[in-house]
């Protein structure tokens, strides 16, 4: 069983290695979006510090949505999604592995880049730590929830807008928690509550999301 799951994981990794441009697009979008904020708003360091958590989180959120587009659509088109549905592995488990792989490729780099972005906005060391940690917990949730939307809309022609509409209500609480954890840290407020709630969201979506994605894909392929 472990071997099977490892094979699935490495399959996705192999595919990403052949499609580096996808990863570069997502990362490039994140970097550019964040870098444009100071240019578009003001060069006032105090103001930039205030908007930094929101800017970085929103950019991360949209990068994730951008990457979700590729999660199932190509596999559906070339028929490999059907083949995956017929693998002798519980479907939810298979999808969980794929989502983890997807996060490692598209989410983890955002987390790793976050400290750099924080520096760019002039955040202090502990604020950068909080920002990175909030993204480390938050981006997997974005992927797990987003996959449900991607699976529901995978057969549709222009699913991008629909996915965004579907996901926005689910993403908003997380966005508020993520950004306010950093703002609270700036104001010297305890952030345990923020992280407890985000951790809870991660655990719940880790358990439930694969089942929801599996059901959505079954309906799509039916």
């Amino acid at each position: 069983m472990h071997k099977m799951l490892w094979k699935l994981f490495s399959r996705d990794m192999t595919l990403f290695m052949h499609r580096k441009q996808d990863v570069v697009t997502v990362l490039g979008f994140f970097l550019i979006a964040v870098a444009l904020f100071p240019l578009g708003i003001s060069s006032d360091p105090e103001l930039l510090k205030t908007i930094a958590p929101g800017a970085i989180w929103i950019a991360a959120l949209f990068s994730t949505v951008l990457a979700l587009d590729r999660l199932f659509s190509e596999d559906l088109d070339d028929g490999t999604l059907e083949q995956q549905m017929l693998m002798p592995v519980p479907l939810a488990l298979l999808l969980l592995v794929r989502l983890i792989a997807h996060w490692v490729i598209t989410g983890l780099p955002l987390v790793l880049l976050a400290p750099l972005m924080g520096l760019q906005f002039g955040l202090a060391f502990n604020e950068i730590m909080i920002l990175t940690l909030s993204l480390l917990i938050g981006t997997p949730v974005l992927v797990l929830l987003g996959a449900i939307g991607a699976a529901l809309t995978v057969g549709l022609k222009s699913s991008g807008g629909l996915v965004t509409l579907l996901l926005l209500p689910l993403y908003v609480p997380l966005l508020i928690l993520g950004t306010s954890s950093v703002s609270s840290a700036m104001n010297g407020v305890d952030v345990t509550a923020h992280f407890s709630l985000m951790g809870a969201a991660l655990l719940v979506s880790l358990v439930l999301s694969p089942f929801a994605v599996a059901t959505a894909l079954k309906i799509t392929l039916d």
Binding site: M4, H18, G79, T80, L86, M87, D222
Partner: protein, 226 residues
């Protein structure tokens, strides 16, 4: 029951299992967009026999195959594999099943070797076996090329190459002859015949008459409502 891999260069017995496989379709009815395609379909397919599904376009051949595999859920009836309902024992059924649909399920950015390895999923095969299978499929010289450079027929051969290596006992093939040249058709015939002689099971759709000596029953889907 024995399933041997088909590689000429590497014939060996992979699974020795005394269990006789059996596929049963019981009172199957399938709907598509509120339209009843067929109902009350019952077939018993024992090991070593093939089922050739024919019917005019839109009769529900592909839908029947997808329902067999569990990709589409039936309006009524059940599919049984070794007397167990396939929806209740999905993983057991899937480990005995190989399905080839209309789409070749090849990743265009990967080469033939990588694709074949991926297509075999969780089954372990050596590099040599992969190379031999590709050679036999006529892709030996092209095995390092990304599959986007292959022709339709070559892509089809690549997805058929997994038949040479699979351990699955039940093969469900949707129009496997499409895009193949006459030599490849002969090649595929010999593979299918070998599979049936080894007590494998085969369900396929095809518009052309099959010329194999093994037992192949014909199921005409249009008949009921003609």
């Amino acid at each position: 029951m024995q399933v041997s891999r088909l590689l000429k260069s590497n014939v060996r017995i992979i699974v020795v299992n005394e269990k006789r496989f059996m596929l049963e379709i019981e009172g199957l009815a399938v709907e598509r967009e509120e339209r009843l395609l067929f109902s009350g379909l019952s077939v018993k397919l024992p090991a070593g026999e093939g089922l050739h599904i024919v019917g005019k376009n839109g009769a529900g051949k592909t839908t029947l195959l997808r329902t067999l595999c569990g990709l589409t859920s039936p309006a009524a009836g059940a599919i049984k594999w070794n007397e167990q309902n396939t929806t209740d024992f999905r993983e057991e059924f899937c480990s005995d099943l190989l399905y080839l649909g209309h789409k070749n399920a090849n990743k265009t950015e990967l080469n033939c070797r990588e694709n074949l390895r991926l297509a075999l999923g969780v089954q372990s095969v050596s590099d040599k076996e992969i190379g031999d299978a590709l050679h036999e499929a006529g892709l030996g010289m092209l095995s390092h090329l990304p599959t986007r450079f292959l022709s339709q027929g070559q892509q089809r051969r690549l997805s058929l190459a997994r038949l040479l290596l699979t351990d699955a006992a039940l093969w469900v093939l949707d129009e496997p002859y499409v895009a193949l040249d006459y030599k490849a058709i002969e090649w595929l015939d010999s593979i299918l015949e070998h599979h049936l002689n080894n007590k494998g099971l085969l369900v396929l759709t095809s518009h052309q008459a099959l010329t194999m000596t093994a037992t192949i029953r014909v199921l005409n889907l249009g008949e009921q409502y003609a």
